[in-house]
């Protein structure tokens, strides 16, 4: 690999000189050089026979750098590294409508194809429950769930709120004064929790932020009192001790070093909800392809590099395929449906 790349570098520098005649020639020669190491130099395959014949596109239906994108790239990296799948797996980003745009194409345009898989999660179920998307993950060809990321409520280490009781008390006194930094659908578990604690979810002062980075800054500069998000969002700041965990909505205590963080259920609030991430294929994906991917992802879930990735990102393994996965996702869907109805997110 390395020798190839250095060689291509040399060819690259000389290419523009000879090809200054047209824009196209310059672009082409250089991009073709890149493709030498990009390793995805085949047009989309039609499938059939020994599946997979050509490249299979892995779509992250969100911007580069987002949660879905991270998942897509982590999955393909491990699949290739462990040589579980040897055909090229280009990752593409198709952001739009919190994944709805791409899910709709997978249900309609890509119907019956076998050269496409995509990443989805709990957020797509919220979209459907709120009536913002026609389809949810349970309507697609769900291949597997991979892992869950547990929601966590955090507060600044030197703030007024030091534990869960402080939070409930502060919310009870004046919910307006407790600005809750949340990113999009992460309001759902907090709203359910508020309801359990006897506070009307409609009174909670949710302030919307774009991801854990912004939420952390908001807490550090005093804008937000507490924040809720998937715990990997707060990873580094938790370690440094700038913010502290108050409660998690996981169904069991977390892995070290967060084993002492109370779960909501243990603290007497019956809320269990985790953000699962999974892989789905187009509607009516051929059974052979579904089986292939279920098998490949199962191998992935057992591989060392994937386990390492999970650990690094503090993702909890939750590997399920087939009926098992479908059932798990439908159960989560039921919680979301009920939650959205009760708390009426987004249309207060």
């Amino acid at each position: 690999m390395r020798s190839m790349m250095i060689a291509s570098g040399r060819r690259g520098t000389s290419a523009p000189k000879s090809a200054a005649l047209t824009v196209g020639a310059v672009l082409a020669s250089l991009t073709l050089v890149i493709s030498g190491c990009g390793g995805k130099a085949q047009p989309p395959g039609e499938g059939g026979g020994d599946y997979p014949k050509g490249p299979v596109t892995v779509t992250a239906p969100a911007e580069p750098g987002s949660g879905w994108d991270t998942t897509a790239r982590a999955v393909t990296e491990s699949l290739q590294k462990e040589e579980i799948v040897t055909t090229p797996l280009p990752v593409q980003n198709r952001p739009g409508g919190t994944g709805c745009t791409w899910m709709t194409s997978m249900m309609e345009q890509e119907k019956g194809k076998d050269d496409q898989i995509a990443i989805t999660s709990l957020a797509s179920q919220t979209m459907k429950a709120r009536g913002l998307c026609e389809y949810g993950p349970e309507d697609t060809t769900l291949i597997a769930t991979l892992y869950v990321e547990d929601f966590m409520v955090v507060s600044p280490a030197n703030g007024d709120i030091q534990n869960l009781d402080d939070l409930v008390k502060a919310l009870g006194d004046d919910p307006q004064k407790v600005a809750v930094a949340a990113a999009g659908d992460d309001t759902l578990p907090f709203a359910l929790f508020a309801k359990e604690a006897g506070i009307s979810p409609a009174d909670i002062n949710f302030v919307n932020y774009d991801g854990g980075g912004e939420q952390t800054t908001a807490m550090l500069n005093g804008d937000a009192t507490v924040a809720i998000a998937g715990m990997s969002e707060f990873r580094s700041v938790l370690e440094s001790g700038d913010i502290k965990p108050l409660v998690t909505f996981a169904d069991a205590p977390l892995a070290a070093p967060f084993e002492s963080v109370p779960t909501a259920v243990d603290s007497g609030y019956d809320v269990t909800l985790s953000n699962w991430r999974g892989v789905y294929g187009p509607a009516e994906m051929p059974q052979a392809a579904v089986d292939y991917w279920a098998g490949a992802l199962e191998d992935l879930s057992k591989s060392a590099s994937w386990k390492e990735t999970l650990e690094k990102n503090q993702w909890a393994p939750e590997f399920r395929t087939g009926e098992d996965a479908q059932q798990y996702v439908e159960e989560a869907g039921a919680t979301v449906d009920a939650g959205v109805k009760e708390t009426d997110i987004g249309s207060k």
């Binding site: 073709l32 995805k40 085949q42 989309p44 490249p55 249309s347 207060k348």
Partner: protein
């Protein structure tokens, strides 16, 4: 450079009027936004923008009407070119404001571009791009049709393969796929 002031007035009148119109349409679209009981609703900012466009368009119209009596102001965009050229250190590189093409030509060029945009996906990148390039270049330089043809086909093909194979950006294959 010495455009008749009336032309610049007319331009500002039309522009201002168009902006008022856009503002009105934009403002009326805010009524379709679902209201919430937040302090600043989703409709607040769009409404402010719509009103501001109406006001600014109005100001532009008023200015154009008022300026009729005070013809001293320069036409923006066409002033100061001399200063720029002088300090560029290269005498003789005086560039006037870009010449204006005839409207009929502009409409034609846009029409061809829109046809290209419309057929790109159904017909496919290769064919539609080659046809589009051939059309534009031949309209411009009909006598050099061989060069135009070679360029059109080659450029379309080279770009297509560079994107699809090099960057895995799959351009539409269309009827050839």
């Amino acid at each position: 450079m010495a455009r008749p002031l009336t032309a610049s007035h007319r331009r500002d009148l039309i522009t201002g009027g168009a902006i008022v119109l856009v503002g009105v349409v934009y403002y009326s679209a805010t009524f379709a936004i679902r209201r919430t009981d937040d302090i600043v609703t989703p409709a607040t900012f769009p409404a402010i923008v719509g009103i501001a466009l109406i006001l600014l368009g109005g100001i532009l119209v008023t200015q154009a009407l008022m300026r009729r009596e005070t013809p001293a102001e320069a036409v923006p965009g066409s002033s100061s070119t001399a200063g720029a050229a002088a300090s560029a250190g290269e005498p003789g590189v005086v560039i006037a404001a870009p010449p204006e093409p005839r409207s009929k030509q502009v409409v034609l060029q846009f029409a061809i571009f829109f046809v290209y945009l419309a057929i790109l996906i159904p017909v496919g990148f290769l064919l539609s791009t080659a046809a589009f390039l051939m059309g534009l270049t031949s309209l411009y330089a009909p006598d050099r049709w061989i060069r135009n043809l070679v360029f059109s086909v080659l450029f379309a093909a080279v770009v297509y393969f560079a994107f699809v194979y090099g960057l895995a950006v799959y351009l539409p294959a269309g009827i050839l796929g």
